[in-house]
Amino acid sequence: MKNIIKILVLLFLVTGCQDVFTPEIENIRGLDAMHQEPTYAQGILANAYILLPYSNSPNSDLATDDAVTNDFENDYLSMATGSWSSDNNPTSQWQGRRNAIQYLNIFLANADDVVWAKDEVIRTMFNDRLKGEAYGLRALQMYHLLLSHGGWTEDGRLLGVPIVTEPEDKDSEFNVPRNTFQECVEQIMADIDKALELLPLDYGDVSDSEVPQKYQELGVTNASDYNRVNGNHMRGRISGRIVEAVRSQVALLAASPSYTDGTEMTWEDAANYAAIVLDRINGVSGMDDDGWTWFANTGEIDGLGSGVTPAEIIWRSDISQSNDLETDNFPPSQYGNGRVNPTQNLVDAFPMANGYPINHPSSNFDASSPYDNRDPRLTNYIVINESTQGPNDAVVVTGTYGDNEDAINRESGLSTRTGYYLRKLLRSDCNPNPEYDTEQKHYTARIRYTEIFLAYAEAANEAWGPTGTGGNGYSAYDVIGALRQRAGVGNGNGDPYLDEVAGSKDQMRELIRNERRLELCFENHRFWDLRRWNVELNKLNETALGMQIAETGGGKEYETIDVEPRMYKDYMYHGPIPYQEILKWDNLEQNAGWN
């Protein structure tokens, strides 16, 4: 019997006592592990990339006059129709951006102690690049914080966010006031300067003689050492060129009407920072002819080498094979969910092919055939009634006479609410039909040259007038002319409308803004552009319209319908500071109007 007891006790011991007395070993590690382990250290920096504020699909556009969604549960829909508040804010960047900055601060505080490579010189090069990335990313994250949270207080000060450049821990003082917007801009510019000092303009393999002077002086003679750090295989990470583009974005924001009174940034600065980016491609002459259909240049996308960017693209995401965007946005007959529905407001913003706005006396616009002779961008960006979509070029009838779910308002949650479906960003050679489920390559365009061209045009027009160049070799007029020309607007007639507005800075401003609206539509710009421009409240609240098309004995009847109101208050030009944070930290001041 004693033996039995022994056996029982033994059995119990042998079968293990994990977690009874001591916990089973888990891979619990501290921060200091990063010093000896470069991969682990880079993982800290990785957070700032993972948390990048870019979306591959239109979100904030759904809260503007450009689009609505047929998903009634969508946060941006609720936001546009009255639910935007400091504790219900889908555009909030506070958590994501500041979390990224926390990781970047940890990274920067430790980078010098990390053994990136055994060779000291290579270690220096690694350290330079990675810190350069961190500074560049911190500037970028900060820019998006300013965009979403910078604003005027009740007592008339323009504030940004608290500037934090050191890692915080559970014992840090969190109850700190917001820095001014200008201080934030200065902080960004300082980070950008450091980043530009440390980062190469582009990543790429070089020959021995092309190794940068500063590294040659350290003794790097063999290009392969340099290429190991900054070569082709680093493409896609933030580079000097990208940081310059971010600087242009920051400058444009700070110089804009809604912010200019609280900053020292001028339109001239904004134009010049944009010109630095554009001069890298020789200005207007470097504009990519196919840049306006970047998402649909299938040959170009499919043929892209690893990390290579098309001429249009300053920064893009990795290529992914998918049909998610098409599943979301194709018309239901093409097995999509018809999510993003462009508005009539946007459709009306496309000029005629002759360059005149549709309400211009010379436009020859015919309301009974409203889609004829229009700016080619219209049908390249938007699926209109009886145009085709999908791998089989099926005709999509959005008119009420259609016999399937593509018809306007036919099937809630699938059919368009406006009479239009999204075409931009999508590839028609995808097939979401579950039977085939064909996927294609896509990338997200994070920053395009077109955006910087438009930033230049906007700033140059304000700084030097429509045709002034400020010494940059090209004017707002030149840029806008080139953008319209490549899209096929005014090509047959020399774009007389452009010349018509070139005489007036105000008229030119309207044209530039409209071009920006068209070129950058569905890329999450307009929501903040409208606010940056400080447009009238009734413009922010322009009702989203749709087009209901009926068939009457051979002809068609076009009726503009109200689809969805926009219900913004007069203080909703700047996003709020999160309510909970205001409650927690009484030194944080809220933007005017929000509570």
Partner: protein
């Protein structure tokens, strides 16, 4: 699979054991037929049995073996609130967890049937569970299974068969009414009606339900009125002085409501074999072996997943019944409707492998290209199988040779549970009919195929899980009486167990040392000291041990001179306990104290179209001080027996405080210290929240012989309140929002103020900021903070949710015996809790299916009498959110059980081979009495609640 083999071998060798014993022993014990007097006065408590009269409170017991003679039931803990206080249906004293021990080993309460149980002890008070350690700190349900007896082989057989009959079905609107009201909703949203009058008429007329469907999920086409449950059970009991054995073999099978396609073959079945042997090895060593094997099989059909992105959602017939609108599709369309000249359509459909009953094809649309009906006809089926093997053994040493009254006991257990699903998953095509009308007849001119028929030849295996439990206990027990007056006893325990589960890295574990010292003087004055050193590997070194003490004092007043001669009071015992228990329950992980970073669970990001790395993330901030949660408790108990046992009563008062519950107090840190993706946090885990519970429980039994009738009436109940005594409330600006000071199970929401009656009403009211345009017929809310805006800050405490048991639980049982006839009634009541009518039956918006509730909708004409907001096809986010508009009281009283049992008189049995024979009929869940009966009895997205009518026979051979 290896575990299963081991289980089988152990098991097979074991089941045969009783027969050997029998063979050996019957000869020598032929005359030993005296039934052991049932020691109903001994109650199983932690590591010992105590005479019921000496119990000091916080413990209740139900004699299941006895109960089964008058109330045949099928789940071990079914309606236990009907007999004892302190148990509120699923939990003890309103706490949020409990430990179930079956024969001392942590096991599942649903893996032991009442027919296998002798009794169940509910150890509620902290003083009663202290010896079990950390995992038992929120109460223990100790289930004791039946054992053998020193008697010749006795065979008990029980057979039951009965029918589950649904109580009620949700009431959804038919196609025509749905379409009419959907049109109204569209108009409300400022849009044109979608369905034409002709369309609606066609759906209403029913002349061609294939072209104009009107699908009713609850019709007899798809459901049968009742389904059967049958079980059979055999027990073998016997033994002699040296060895006793018990074997229980049971089987049950039950069907399903669905009666079409493959679903008509759905069933659940369970086979179990349980057995145990007690052996007296010599004068001072006893040993026992217990074993149990259970085999569950559940057959069902494969349902189309309605939302593949959502891992949480589980679809079945009832979820589709609650969401698929009646006018969408006719699932089956007769082939005869296809135009004879439509050759391409005919050849297409003739290639289908799913022609149902030789005359229907599966129909659909491009959007609805799968449906739950076709799933049943063509989607294949699956079987879920679960096998459990449980094995435990123990040895009891009588150590009186060393010291009179000393004994040592040891128990060791190994359990395995495995489960998996095998499925034959088939794909199928549906056909989209294009209808035409020729000379007044509807015909199908064209068919379009959507999807493909694919039959799977081999089963797919999935959901493979296993769980292993190992438990060990050893304890010394000492008891002695000195000078006939001083009763002393002590227990010293070392116990531990661990559970390993597939897919879970860490084991659940418990280890502790316990000591209990009891003394009473003349069974009159009691003191009881207990303590346990509990150990948990979940805390930092230095914090892994804690001491849980408990003190109980008792006074048998009934023995005092001033009461001992009372004609009223037979006995009266009063006790008071104070305890501090330490537990690591509800601390999910290990290393929650460690400040840590981690890259192995990081998120990926990529560049260079192929290079990738993972993020290194903060997992949590450091808090080396993280420690046990404390249950501090004060309780008092009163037990009495009056008028010569006519009334027995037991009542407890309890007040406990759970202190230092672990949270990440976000209110103390900025929100960017935390991200969902990558899932990361710089915030430490802190012992922060405190909860207080206070209440009373009672059970009173009244026994009376009324002439021929022997009547027993029992009433039991639990009433308790809770308060969140400490919370991180930084996130709340206004006092009425603060969680601290409120019940821990609060339902929070807006206070409604009727419907907006017109636009000026809206214009003159605070702005309601939930998105969407607010219109007349929408719910108006009260502006609590007077900021002229209605938002989430206006949410107030609406009522208790009763998540840990209703504030007041009541049980009533009546037994009347008249000759051989026994009549039993059980009632249960639940009061004081509220719930939200927030399912998709009551919250109808967008494209949801329309139920009867929308008939009371607000319209311009019915504005005075409307009971439901205006209809909308949009998200209705203003109306469909938590508010007292949707709140309802769940107060109810149930007639849970009625059973009539007839024991055939023994005199009639004398010449046949039965020793006992009885028959019974019963009805379960018969009646709910409540103002909200309809809501409480209705299941949306689940199989209907049922009444169960059973007929049973029990025979003893």
């Amino acid at each position: 699979m290896k575990h299963i083999q081991i289980g089988f071998i152990l098991f097979a060798s074991f089941v045969l054991l009783p027969f050997f014993i029998k063979a050996q022993t019957t000869a020598e014990n032929e005359t030993d037929t005296i039934d052991k007097v049932k020691q109903d006065t001994l109650v199983q408590v932690a590591f010992r049995e105590v005479a019921k009269s000496n119990l000091l409170g916080g413990v209740s017991v139900v004699d299941v073996e006895d109960l089964m003679n008058k109330n045949y039931h099928t789940y071990s803990l079914e309606n236990m609130e009907g007999y004892i206080g302190g148990w509120n249906g699923n939990l003890l004293w309103g706490m949020d967890d409990r430990l179930v021990l079956i024969d001392g080993v942590p096991r599942d309460a649903d893996n032991v049937l009442p027919s296998e149980i002798e009794d169940i002890t509910f150890l509620k008070g902290a003083s009663a569970v202290v010896l079990y350690g950390s995992r038992a700190a929120k109460g223990v349900i100790y289930i004791t299974t039946k054992r053998g007896k020193a008697q010749p082989l006795q065979v008990n057989v029980r057979v039951n068969t009965g029918f589950h009959v649904s109580k009620s079905y949700p009431k959804y609107l038919n196609s025509a009414e749905y379409m009419t009201l959907y049109n109204e909703a569209l108009v409300n949203d400022g849009r044109d009606p979608l369905y034409s009058q002709e369309d609606i008429y066609n759906h209403a007329s029913g002349s061609n339900p294939y072209r104009y469907p009107n699908v009713d999920f609850y019709s007899s086409d798809y459901l049968q009125k009742a389904y059967n449950r049958t079980d059979i059970l055999t027990e073998l009991v016997g033994g002699n002085e040296r060895a006793q054995y018990y074997t229980n073999i049971g089987y049950y099978r039950q069907g399903d409501f669905l009666n079409f396609g493959e679903a008509a073959n759905n069933y659940d079945e369970r086979l179990n074999v349980r057995g145990n042997v007690d052996v007296k090895l010599n004068d001072f060593i006893d040993a026992y072996i217990n074993a149990n094997a259970t085999f569950y099989t559940s057959r069902g059909i494969n349902y189309t997943d309605s939302d593949p992105d959502d891992d949480e959602n589980v679809d079945n017939y009832w979820t589709y019944a609650a969401s698929m609108r009646p006018n969408r599709i006719a699932p089956l369309v007769p082939l005869s409707y296809i135009d004879g000249n439509a050759l391409s359509a005919l050849s297409l459909v003739n290639n289908s492998s799913n022609i149902i009953d030789g005359k229907y094809f599966l129909a659909g649309t491009q959007v609805d290209n799968k449906n739950v009906f076709a799933d049943s006809y063509a989607g294949g089926y699956n079987k879920w199988k679960n096998r459990q093997f449980q094995f435990d053994t123990g040895i009891d040493f009588d150590l009186q040779n060393f010291l009179q009254g000393l004994s040592f006991h040891t128990q060791f257990a190994v359990d395995y549970a495995t489960s998996f699903t095998s499925a034959y998953e088939n794909e199928y095509a549906v056909y989209i009919p294009r209808w035409y009308n020729y000379n007044g007849d509807d015909v199908i001119g064209e068919l379009e195929k959507e999807g493909n028929d694919e039959k799977s030849g081999n089963p797919d295996f999935s959901d493979e899980n296993y769980r292993q439990t190992i438990a060990f206990s050893g304890w010394f027990d000492y008891s002695t009486t000195v000078n006939n007056n001083h009763n002393i006893s002590a227990v010293l325990v070392a116990t531990g167990y661990q559970q390993a589960e597939s897919g879970v890295y860490h084991n659940t574990a418990n280890a502790n040392l316990g000591l209990q010292l009891s003394y009473n003087f003349k069974n009159k004055y009691y003191t009881d000291l207990a303590g346990a050193i509990v150990h948990s590997a979940k805390f930092a070194e230095g914090n892994r041990n804690a001491f849980s003490p408990s003190v109980t004092l008792g006074w048998r007043m009934g023995q005092e001179n001033f009461l001992s001669n009372s004609s009223v009071i037979d006995d009266l015992i009063l006790s008071v306990s104070g305890s501090v228990l330490h537990t690591d329950m509800s601390i999910d992980g290990h290393y929650e104290y460690a400040g840590s970073f981690n890259q192995s669970d990081g998120a990926w990001w990529g560049w260079y179209d192929g290079a990738a790395e993972r993020s290194t993330n903060a997992i949590q901030g450091e808090n080396e001080d993280l420690t046990f949660i404390k249950r501090k408790e004060l309780s008092a108990n009163l037990r009495t027996s009056l008028w010569k046992n006519t009334i027995n009563a037991d009542a407890s008062f309890f007040m406990n405080s759970m202190e230092g519950m672990v949270t990440q107090p976000m209110g103390l840190y900025p929100n960017y210290f935390f991200t969902y993706y990558p899932e990361a946090s710089f915030v430490p885990n802190v012992n922060y929240n405190n909860d207080q519970r206070m209440g009373i429980d009672f059970s009173v039994n009244y026994n009376k012989d009324l002439g021929d009738v022997d009547l027993t009436l029992g009433v039991s109940g639990t009433y308790y309140t809770t308060e969140a005594t400490r919370r991180d409330d930084t996130n709340y600006e206004y006092d009425y929002q603060k969680r601290q000071g409120k019940a821990v199970d609060g339902i929070w929401g807006l206070e409604s103020a009727g419907f907006f009656q017109n636009q000026s009403d809206i214009d003159n009211s605070p702005t309601q900021t939930f998105g969407g345009t607010v219109k007349p017929g929408d719910i108006k809310y009260v502006d609590q903070n007077n900021d002229n805006v209605i938002d989430s800050r206006d949410e107030v405490f609406l009522g208790k949710g009763g998540w840990y048991g209703n504030p007041f639980t009541l049980g009533v049982n009546v037994t009347a015996k008249w000759d051989n006839l026994t009549f039993f009634v059980l009632g249960t009541g639940y009061f004081g809790a509220y719930a939200m009518k927030d399912d998709n039956y009551h919250w109808v918006y967008g494209d949801r299916k329309y139920s009867e509730v929308v008939r009371g909708r607000w319209t311009e004409e019915t504005k005075g009498s409307a009971t439901y907001p205006r209809l909308t096809t949009q998200s209705g986010s203003n109306n469909f959110r938590n508010s007292d508009f949707w709140l309802y009281s769940t107060d109810r009283f149930n007639i849970a059980k009625v059973q009539i049992t007839y024991d055939i008189p023994k005199s009639l049995l004398q010449n046949i081979f039965f020793k006992e024979l009885s028959a019974y009929v019963s009805g379960s869940n018969l009646l709910t009495i409540s103002p909200e009966r309809e809501t409480l009895e209705m299941e949306v997205t689940n199989a209907p609640q049922t009444r169960f009518y059973n007929l049973g026979v029990k025979a003893v051979f």
